[in-house]
C-alpha cells in the first residue's frame, strides 16, 4: 500500500523538495514575496482608504468629486490594466524625479513596485469600506469626543478608529484576501512571486499538475488562516457591543 502511494506521489514529492533538485524552495520564496507585497499593499491601501474616506465624508465638494472619480475608475477598470498603467507611470515619474535631481535612472525593486500598484488599487476599495464603516458609527459618539475637547487626530485615534472597526473588519478581511490573490497578477509583469515561480517550475519540469496544485494549496492555506485570524479579530473588536449587528457581513469580493 505504502509502496503504491510512493509510486504515485513519490516523484512529485521529490520535485517539491526544498533543496535545489526540488523546486519547493523556489515556491516558498515566491510565497514570501507574495505575502510581502500583499501586506505592503494592504497597509498602503488602508492609509489611502482612511484619507479617502475622511475626504469623502468631511472634505469639500471638489475633493469629494475627485475621490468619486478615483474610486469609480479603479473599480471599473481591470486590475491587470491598472497595474500596467500605474507601473509605467510610477517608473516614469520616479526616473524623471531622479533625473532632475541629477541621479540618473533608478532600478525599482519588484516588491516596491508591486506595493505601489496594488496599494493604489486597494485604496479605492478601502475608501468605500471605511466610509461605510465610519457612517455606521452613531454620530453622537463623535459629538461626545468633541465635547471632551478632543482635536481631529485624537478623535480619530481614540473614537473613530476603534468605534468603526467592528463594521470595517469584514470588508477589510475581504480586501486582504483580494490583495493576496491579486499578487498573482504581478506574474504577468514579471515579478518573481508565487504564481510566476510556479509557472517556471512547472515549465521546466513539465509536472504542471504537481506545481499548480501545490501553489493552489499554499494560497488556500493563506486564505484559510487569514479568515480564521480575521474572525478572532472581529470578535475581539466587538467586545462590549450588543450582538446581532449584521453590518458589512456580505461585502463581496
Amino acid at each position: 500500500m505504502l509502496d503504491w502511494l510512493h509510486g504515485l506521489f513519490g516523484p512529485s514529492l521529490e520535485l517539491l523538495a526544498l533543496s535545489p533538485p526540488g523546486w519547493g524552495g523556489n515556491l516558498l520564496r515566491g510565497l514570501v514575496n507574495s505575502l510581502q507585497i500583499a501586506a505592503g499593499a494592504f497597509g498602503f491601501g488602508l492609509v489611502i482608504g482612511l484619507l479617502g474616506a475622511s475626504g469623502k465624508l468631511y472634505g469639500g465638494p471638489v475633493t469629494r468629486d475627485l475621490l468619486e472619480v478615483y474610486t469609480t475608475v479603479v473599480r471599473a477598470v481591470p486590475e491587470l490594466v491598472l497595474i500596467l498603467i500605474l507601473y509605467f507611470i510610477g517608473t516614469d515619474l520616479l526616473n524623471r524625479a531622479t533625473a532632475t535631481m541629477g541621479y540618473g535612472s533608478v532600478e525599482i525593486s519588484g516588491v516596491a513596485a508591486g506595493i505601489w500598484v496594488l496599494g493604489v488599487v486597494q485604496g479605492a476599495y478601502a475608501t468605500e469600506v471605511l466610509r461605510g464603516a465610519i457612517r455606521a458609527v452613531p454620530p453622537g459618539q463623535f459629538d461626545a469626543g468633541r465635547a471632551y475637547g478632543m482635536g481631529g487626530v485624537m478623535l480619530m485615534r481614540r473614537v473613530t478608529i476603534p468605534a468603526m472597526l467592528p463594521y470595517a473588519i469584514p470588508g477589510l478581511a475581504n480586501l486582504w484576501l483580494i490583495a493576496t490573490k491579486d499578487t498573482a497578477l504581478l506574474a504577468i509583469v514579471g515579478f518573481a512571486e508565487l504564481t510566476l515561480e510556479t509557472k517556471q517550475a512547472a515549465g521546466s519540469t513539465k509536472a504542471y499538475f504537481t506545481f499548480y496544485l501545490a501553489a493552489g494549496l499554499l494560497y488556500l492555506i493563506v486564505t484559510l488562516v487569514s479568515t480564521f485570524l480575521f474572525h478572532r479579530l472581529e470578535n475581539r473588536s466587538r467586545r462590549g457591543l450588543p450582538g446581532a449587528m449584521g453590518v458589512g457581513r456580505c461585502v463581496n469580493s
Partner: protein, 257 residues
C-alpha cells in the same frame, strides 16, 4: 441634470475635457485605423466570453447555493469545499492549471487525436471558458447561498399551503425571490467577471487586452493602448451597470419590495 451641473462641476468637466483634448493631440493615435478591425474582434471576444461564462457560471451557481442551504451533507460539503477552493486561490492560477495541466494530460490519452473532441482540445478558448465559468460559479454559489437562505420561510410555507410541489415551489417562489434579492450583488459580480477576462490573454486568446498588448509590442508605445484599454473597459462596465439597473427597475425587481 441641474443638480449635477454646479459651477465646480463645470470647472472639473472643463479640466477633464482639456485632458482628453491633450491626450487626443499630444499622444500618438495614427495606428488606430489600422488596428481598429482587430480591436473590434477583441472587444467581441471579451463580450462573448463574459456572456457565456456568466451564464454557465450562474447555471452552476444555483445548484451550488441550493445544495449548501438545503442539501444533505454529501451534497452540501462538496459544494462548500468547491466554493472555498475557487474563492481561495487566484484565478490566474486556476486558468494556468487548466490550460497547462489539463492541456498536457489530454494528448497522453491514446486515440484522442482521432475523436471529434481533439480540434477543440487543442484550442485555448475551451479552457478559458471552463476556468472563467467555474470561477464565476464559485463566487456566485456563495452569493446564491445567502440569497436562498434569505427568502422568508413564510413565503415558502404559503406556497406549500397552496399545494405546490417542491419543484413548482422552487421555480415559482424560491428562485425568483432569491435572484431578485441578489440582483445588486450580481451586477457587481458581473463587472468583476468582466474585469477578470483579460487574464485569458495569457493563454493566447486575442481579447481586448491582448490587442492592446499587441499594439504595445508592435509600435513600442506605452500609454496610448493602455489608455484606450481603460476607456474600453470603463464603457463596458457602465453598460453592464446600466443593463442591471434596468432589470432591477423593470418588473423583475419591483415586485420584491
Amino acid at each position: 441634470m441641474r443638480e449635477f451641473l454646479k459651477p465646480r462641476r463645470i470647472v472639473l468637466l472643463a479640466i477633464a475635457a482639456a485632458l482628453v483634448l491633450w491626450c487626443a493631440t499630444a499622444l500618438r493615435w495614427d495606428w488606430l485605423p489600422e488596428y481598429a478591425p482587430l480591436l473590434a474582434e477583441g472587444i467581441w471576444t471579451t463580450i462573448w466570453l463574459l456572456v457565456v461564462t456568466a451564464a454557465l457560471g450562474f447555471a452552476l451557481a444555483v445548484p451550488l447555493g441550493l445544495a449548501q442551504v438545503t442539501g444533505p451533507w454529501w451534497l452540501s460539503t462538496p459544494a462548500r469545499v468547491f466554493c472555498t477552493i475557487i474563492r481561495g486561490t487566484p484565478l490566474l492560477l486556476q486558468i494556468w492549471l487548466l490550460y497547462y495541466g489539463l492541456g498536457s494530460l489530454f494528448p497522453q490519452i491514446p486515440g484522442i487525436r482521432q475523436t471529434w473532441l481533439w480540434p477543440y482540445l487543442r484550442e485555448a478558448w475551451p479552457y478559458a471558458v471552463l476556468a472563467l465559468s467555474l470561477s464565476f460559479a464559485g463566487y456566485e454559489g456563495e452569493v446564491m447561498r445567502g440569497a436562498f437562505a434569505g427568502v422568508p420561510r413564510s413565503q415558502l410555507e404559503t406556497g406549500q399551503s397552496f399545494g405546490m410541489g417542491r419543484f413548482t415551489l422552487f421555480r415559482r417562489i424560491w428562485l425568483p425571490q432569491a435572484v431578485r434579492s441578489a440582483l445588486p450583488t450580481l451586477a457587481g459580480e458581473t463587472i468583476l467577471q468582466m474585469k477578470a477576462t483579460p487574464l485569458v490573454a495569457t493563454i493566447t486568446i486575442m481579447d481586448t487586452y491582448a490587442v492592446a498588448a499587441r499594439v504595445r509590442q508592435d509600435l513600442l508605445i506605452t500609454y496610448e493602448p493602455l489608455l484606450l484599454l481603460a476607456v474600453c473597459y470603463l464603457v463596458m462596465a457602465s453598460i453592464i451597470a446600466l443593463i442591471f439597473s434596468r432589470v432591477e427597475r423593470s418588473g423583475a425587481g419591483r415586485a420584491a419590495r
